[in-house]
Amino acid sequence: MGMDFSTLRTLISRYCVGEENWVDSRTIYIGHKEPPPGTEAFIQQRFPDNRIVSSKYTFWNFVPKNMFEQFRRVANFYFLIIFLVQLIIDTPTSPITSGLPLFFVITVTSIKQGYEDWLRHKADNSVNQCPVHVVQHGKVVRKQSRKLRVGDVVFMKENETFPCDLILLSTSRDDGTCFVTTASLDGESSHKTHYAVQDTKAYITEKEVDSIQATIECEQPQPDLYKFVGRINIYMDNEPVARPLGAENLLLRGATLKNTEHIYAVAIYTGMETKMALNYQSKTQKRSAVEKSMNAYLVVYLCILISKALINTLLKYVWQADSNRDEPWYNNRTDTERQRHIVIRAFTDFLAFMVLFNYIIPVSMYVTVEMQKFLGSYFIMWDDDMFDEELGERAVVNTSDLNEELGQVEYVFTDKTGTLTENNMEFIECCVDGHIYVADAICNGQVMPGATSMDMIDSSPGPGAREHEELFFRALCLCHTVQVKEEETVDGIKHGIHQGKSTSFYISSSPDEVALVEGMKRLGFTYLRLRDGHMEILNREDEIERFELLEVLTFDSVRRRMSVIVRSSTGELYLFCKGADSSIFPRVISGKVEEVRARVEHNAVEGLRTLCVAYRPLSPEQYTEVCHMLNGAKLSLHDRDKRLAEAYDAIEKDLILLGATAVEDRLQEKAADTIESLHKAGMKVWVLTGDKMETAAATCYASKLFHRNTQILELTTKRTEEQNLHDVLFDLSRTVLRQHGGMARDSFSGLSGDCTDFGLIIDGATLSAVMRPAQEDSNSGNYKEIFLEICRNCSAVLCCRMAPLQKAQIVKLIKASEEHPITLAIGDGANDVSMILEAHVGIGIMGKEGRQAVRNSDYAIPKFKHLKKILLVHGHYYYIRISELVQYFFYKNVCFIFPQFLYQFFCGFSQQPLFDTAYLTLYNISFTSLPILLYSLIEQHINVDILKKDPSLYRDIAKNSLLRWPIFIYWTLLGVYDAIVMFFGAYFLFDNTTFTSNGQLMTTNTQMMFGNWTFGTLVFTVLVFTVTFKLALDTHYWTWINHFVIWGSLVFFVVFSLLWGGIIRPFLNYQRMYYVFMQMLSSGPAWLSIILLITASLLPDVLKKVICRALWPTTTECIQTKRRCLASEPSTIFMLSQTSSRISF
């Protein structure tokens, strides 16, 4: 068949290029049989078995390894150190205060990780133990998959998935071919033909196969799925025959055998060395941008903490220089303390200060953040809008660590087939000489010209047109490489056509061809089969027409057309040609070119995939000439490709145009709408596909990724062949930059409908040239930069012909560019896995091509359209929520710790805690933790509907805007201000005035004195109320739960304080808080000062909010205000969308 030539061609070209690609080679003995003596002495190599290991721990190393992993986290390590310090030296607080929470966190985490690893073990086992059939000593034996070894001859049946990478030896088909679908591997669901080694294809029983004596030499495994170089040495009568092996002989792990009863193949790469395994990158834990800022803040706070401790230690020793201050008569040290060296004392003091202030970085922040993420992810899973009725699936969250990252996405990398499209080709219409035929599924072979046509040129087709129509349909029925598979059972998925009782399928490597042939069937012409070199067609009158297939001029992407030469039963010779309009029109000499061209352009704009059909009647003399040319080209040894191309070029000329077809790969529902929203939200959408450029481009138009006025820049092999890469890149960048400089920065506003924007198309080969690391000339190193520069200015980029790893490379390239944008990759097939793993956020679509993408993704959604909700709504919310969570946590701990710091100046730097131990421990755990946790779960600053309607709101939070340094500093300063107000407020009330209570609860007219614990309790009460009210002021969405938790936690604080102070606890030997809180509350001035200090603390923040909202409102704030103003009006939403779009300008 036609494929043979291309196979040979690639082989030849490979050998011409030479063998420099051979990294290192391995030798495989088929069936573990040593070659006959006397041949080259091979050294037996050791290969791994077919075991797949993805688990991290074993039973034995779990505890130490897990502990090690956990304490590698800076935060955990920090708390461990604090805990140890508390154990060792005399510190102001007890070790329990930090030990308990740490123990809790560590235990919970290790249980969770242990469980996850157990699941991985289970998964590994089920893969490793699934049965495989292996030929041993002439018999087929069952083996566990993990026991498979390199050199084993494997027997596979139809629909089985290959357990490792195999070289095809023989098949049940006579021609030594087998069909394979790699849907789960690279996303192409079409059937691919693979070939058995010519010299072994005759061995078709297990006995015969077992008798093969051969060795295979091939390269060591490498990840490129489409590349394989090897050689097989077959010993026949001890005479080795060497044959080349190529990718067409290689069956990859993960691919599935189709339409072939059984095959024999030999394992060459096993286990972790299979190409599929090499294509999966190890899944590293992803960290969100928020987490990164959190860590940065943490470092700042660590510095603050250390400097606080240092300052205090230093001041302590300056202050203590006077021995009467150091050791007044009323406060002596113990002897052991006195004898301690001053350096040790100073160091101990430093550590004690560290422990006293360590709450500034609370364990509870980490716990709260983890809980927020974990619980928050349930809202994504519960979302009814992301439930797909058809699939019966809802969103799945695999990693809850990245919820907020969904609100930060700048680049979206999407797969095409199955992600943007439904991966389902459908014949839409054809046009013969300007007459349009719409294939109606129910029309039962009745053509209805004119009934639905729109562009009828003349209402009654003349006899000439009639003839063209007949020819057109026959052309489509004949000019293809579709195979027919007849089957009794109904598989019922795709290509099922019902013909009488039996069911037959059309199989082709191109789904378009299938769609066309099926479309013809619906228009009355059914392609039956190819038999004895004759193609049979069932025409409208139910007669079988037979055409002898003489030549197939196969499709290639340079020519972009294919042809067949057939002889009809009446002996007439025809050449039928179909191909892209651009490659057909120049070769047409007659026919209604204008009408067809108009229709083709119309269809292309609609996003349909169009093909033109033409024919050329051949006289017997012409045919002889054609045969001569073709044979001459085929037989040539050198430049065969070139000569064949020349021959094709010479043959496919003087065509007569018949018409055009339109096929649709239906876009997923609302895909275009989603992409538009993403654009408006300021995201750049890239399509990365393994598909052909033309197809991909059509999809891009259909999905509104490219608009009609998008200027397309091409960076493809075709272009780089004409010019060198360097020039092309510079050309493009010049074009882009010139245009861009001219139109200011308007294009970023997203609504650049009226100004030209750019779309870039690049293919895999060119991309790898661009990405190639700098060689001798330093110029090539800049290619990446130039390429990035071009990309940055393009609103949409299409990368076609991508290998899975290339997709990941692109993502990596963008990730590493100087702005470090947040990337999101979305895909449905196994070919998208590497990019899903590489991107900051990986999203899997629950498509038809297996579950690999879903498994490896961070989030999985049923359809592409759900991306809109998950990004614009959930992402936005979680970003807002977690940024508030982080800032608030740091703020409330500044408020908490800063008074303690100030207090040191008034207690002789003695590390005396201002607050009671219970307050120190519970402040973060219970008094102030629940309100913020709840806020971070249910806050909605804007309604869901508005967020969805107005994607531009997403820009308000772009680039981590709520966690920038100025905002962080504002929060910190606010915390310091509040702390100062609280501390000095209380200080002035206690200092030099009698701050006393009337003690009316006890005995009238008694004056009680307040001590240091009352002072601390007063500050603490103000602190808890201020911090909680601050959150209340930030809450925009008050459900009953918020009310319950906010007021509830305040009530809890009061009740706890009353209980804590009211119960005498002789067994605890701890009574310093006894009745302190109640005594405080019985004093009028205490109430007054609490109210005053809370008001004073909250004042600046309220003021800042109000003034900023009034003077410099953000889009979000405008919308919020608008909503209030217009709440009563009926057309609120309409107005909103109007105003918001106006604002975004």
């Binding site: 993805s54 699941l119 998964a123 699934c130 395994a277 999966y280 190890s282 201050r325 007044p328 009323y330 406060n331 002596n332 040290r333 809202f379 009814d384 019966g392 196994a830 896995v833 690999q852 879903v854 498994r855 207690c907 002789g908 003695s910 005396q912 909605q940 009330l989 005035t993 009698t994 005995t1003 007219n1005 008694t1006 004056q1007 009680m1008 004195m1009 307040f1010 001590g1011 240091n1012 002072f1015 969405y1037 008050w1038 005498i1064 002789p1066 030997n1069 701890y1070 310093r1072 006894y1074 009745y1075 007054l1088 000062s1089 005053l1092 008001t1095 004042l1099 309220v1102 909010k1105 109000v1106 003034i1107 009034a1110 405008c1118 103003c1125």
Partner: protein, 370 residues
């Protein structure tokens, strides 16, 4: 991970729940519940802080705070307070000699008399305080140097005080009761107040020494071991704190309800002060049943039995007389703070009013007209 992707199909097959062709029942179970909570559509009040909404609050706060502040300020100013330093740091101070010649070992008591004049009569109950400066009662080593169990009458703690009391835990082999630095440094000056008549005679003013401590402290937190009777026996086997002149059961020999651990002077001292400058209640001068003021204006003598050295750490001792009001002692800060915050709020209210009129209205009208 990788392997989990390989086995996707197996698991799907094994797992009836995961296979989507299992039927409508499965589909139904996967469909999320359409509850308001799960769909994040709980009914909610959605307040927004704008100039318009905050304005009234500012005015209201201002209008409430200013009168309160004025009230507090006036009340505080009506409180009469008198303070006199009797440390004896200067040579012209009557207690100079006592301060200078202080020695822990001397058994002789040094008494000095400080005269002062009250310009205005003190009405109602008058409270007498002693004040110390530069005395770090809030030092960590000091604050924790006590044993609450011992003070609560626990027998085992009495004979074996907590380690926190070091180095005031044991003296000459026997446990100290009460142990610790706080108890050891109990303020032990005796203050007596005399009024000098117009004819020059000294009238001692009766000072009430009970009712100065927290009720709960006196009745719950502090307890003598084995009840209040026969304290000498109860404290047998313990020794007095090193700096004390007499053991704990002789703090107030006259009144068994005020002796031992439940001595109110002791309890007041044990409540450590928050700041290095503090005052503690010493005595109460009850108002007289007649209409005459409790302390009429005129000359007074403060007789000090000088036992407590403060000069070594640069401290000061004061005696304070003060009346109180409904809001406690003299406290101008609170009133001033209230007035200040109230005025700021009022002022901000005005500023916001301007902003509100200038910006909010303009924005709104502009948006709506578009």
């Amino acid at each position: 991970m990788m392997a989990s992707s390989y086995n996707a199909k197996e698991e799907d097959a094994n797992h009836p729940g995961a296979a989507n062709h299992a039927g409508a029942g499965v589909v139904k179970s996967k469909k999320p519940d359409n509850t308001a909570f799960k769909q994040q559509r709980l009914p909610a009040w959605q307040p927004i802080l704008t100039a318009g909404t905050v304005l009234p609050a500012f005015f209201v706060i201002g209008l409430i705070f200013i009168p309160i502040g004025i009230g507090l300020y006036v009340t505080s100013n009506n409180i009469k307070e008198f303070e006199i330093d009797y440390t004896g740091a200067n040579i012209d101070n009557p207690c100079y000699n006592c301060a200078k010649n202080f020695s822990w070992n001397s058994t002789a008591q040094c008494v000095c008399a400080v005269t002062f004049t009250l310009e205005q009569p003190f009405e109602s109950n008058v409270f007498m305080y002693y004040g110390l400066s530069n005395f770090y009662q809030n030092h960590r080593r000091y604050v924790k140097s006590r044993d609450d169990s011992q003070l609560n009458g626990d027998r085992s703690a009495l004979t074996n005080p907590s380690k926190e009391c070091e180095p005031y835990r044991r003296s000459e082999g026997s446990p100290i009761a009460p142990c610790g630095a706080i108890a050891n440094s109990l303020f032990n000056d005796t203050l007596q107040l005399y009024h000098i008549d117009s004819n020059g005679t000294l009238n001692e003013i009766p000072l009430v020494k009970k009712g100065i401590a927290w009720w709960t402290d006196k009745h719950v937190k502090f307890r003598n071991p084995g009840g209040n009777n026969n304290l000498t026996v109860a404290f047998q086997g313990t020794s007095k704190p090193v700096n004390w002149k007499k053991p704990v059961f002789e703090l107030d020999p006259e009144d068994p309800e005020n002796n031992g651990f439940i001595n109110e002077d002791f309890i007041v001292w044990m409540r450590t002060a928050a700041l290095p400058t503090f005052r503690k209640l010493y005595r109460i001068i009850q108002k007289k049943p007649s209409t005459t003021p409790t302390l009429p204006s005129g000359k007074y003598v403060l007789n000090v039995t000088y036992n407590y050295p403060v000069l070594s750490f640069d401290g000061r001792k004061r005696m304070i007389l003060s009346t109180i009001s409904w809001m406690g002692g003299k406290n101008p800060f609170l009133g001033i703070a209230y007035i200040t915050v109230g005025s700021i709020c009022f002022f901000l209210g005005v500023v916001l009013l301007i902003i509100h009129h200038k910006y909010d209205n303009r924005n709104n009208s502009a948006d709506i007209s578009n």
